[in-house]
């Protein structure tokens, strides 16, 4: 089964998603290209 609409599949480039930094700034995922990237999507508690 392939990815649903809006989802990326293996081999696809990640869209330019903006994330917030703990300091209130922004980081664009595309800025992290150049090295392999391990993204751990977690649940923040506490």
């Amino acid at each position: 089964m392939g990815p649903s609409p809006g989802e990326i599949g293996i081999g696809d480039a990640l869209p330019d998603i903006r994330l917030r930094t703990p300091q209130g700034g922004e980081l664009v995922l595309a800025d992290l290209r150049g090295r392999p990237l391990v993204i751990v999507c977690i649940r923040y508690y506490g």
Binding site: P3, S4, G6, E7, I8, G9, I10, G11, D12, A13, L14, P15, I17, L19, R20, T21, P22, Q23, G24, L27, L29, A30, L32, R33, G34, R35, P36, L37, V38, I39, V40, C41, I42, R43, Y44, Y45, G46
Partner: protein
């Protein structure tokens, strides 16, 4: 992952954590010594792009869900304030240097994370210096 960060760095990889919660929670994790950036995805755009789902009734009925809570409790973890989308599940994605998705794990329930050894092996495979992937 905290303890293994140096091994990812040795493979020239970068690790980031992303959550849908609040910035103060990400900041606290980093203040407590998390060695990689902890970021916030308030609208779960990254989660949706990766197809990481939400906790459903089926997962709530899985023994694995409660086993995960039990393991965390035994390790001393106490659940605090839940912010963001409390039903959003976890996942791990590995991107290559060009930003392409190379490997993806979507959690089936709470606490369903792949083994660090598996992640290291997948990153090593990106560099072309690893053997066959480990099972699981």
């Amino acid at each position: 992952m905290r303890e293994a960060n140096g091994r990812f760095e040795a493979l020239s990889a970068r690790v980031i954590a992303v959550g849908t919660g609040a910035e103060f929670q990400a900041r606290r994790l980093m203040d407590e010594g998390m060695p990689f950036p902890c970021l916030v995805d308030p609208d779960a755009r990254l989660y949706r792009a990766l197809g990481i789902g939400r906790l459903g009734w089926r997962a709530l009925l899985m023994a694995e869900t409660y086993a995960s809570y039990w393991r965390a409790w035994r390790l001393g973890t106490r659940r605090g304030q839940v912010t963001g989308d409390w039903r959003r599940l976890s996942g791990v994605a590995i991107m290559d240097a060009a930003g392409r998705l190379c490997w993806l794990h979507r959690a089936r329930t709470v606490g369903d994370y792949p083994a660090v050894a598996r992640l290291l092996a997948e990153v090593a495979r990106l560099r072309g210096d690893a053997g066959p992937p480990p099972r699981g």
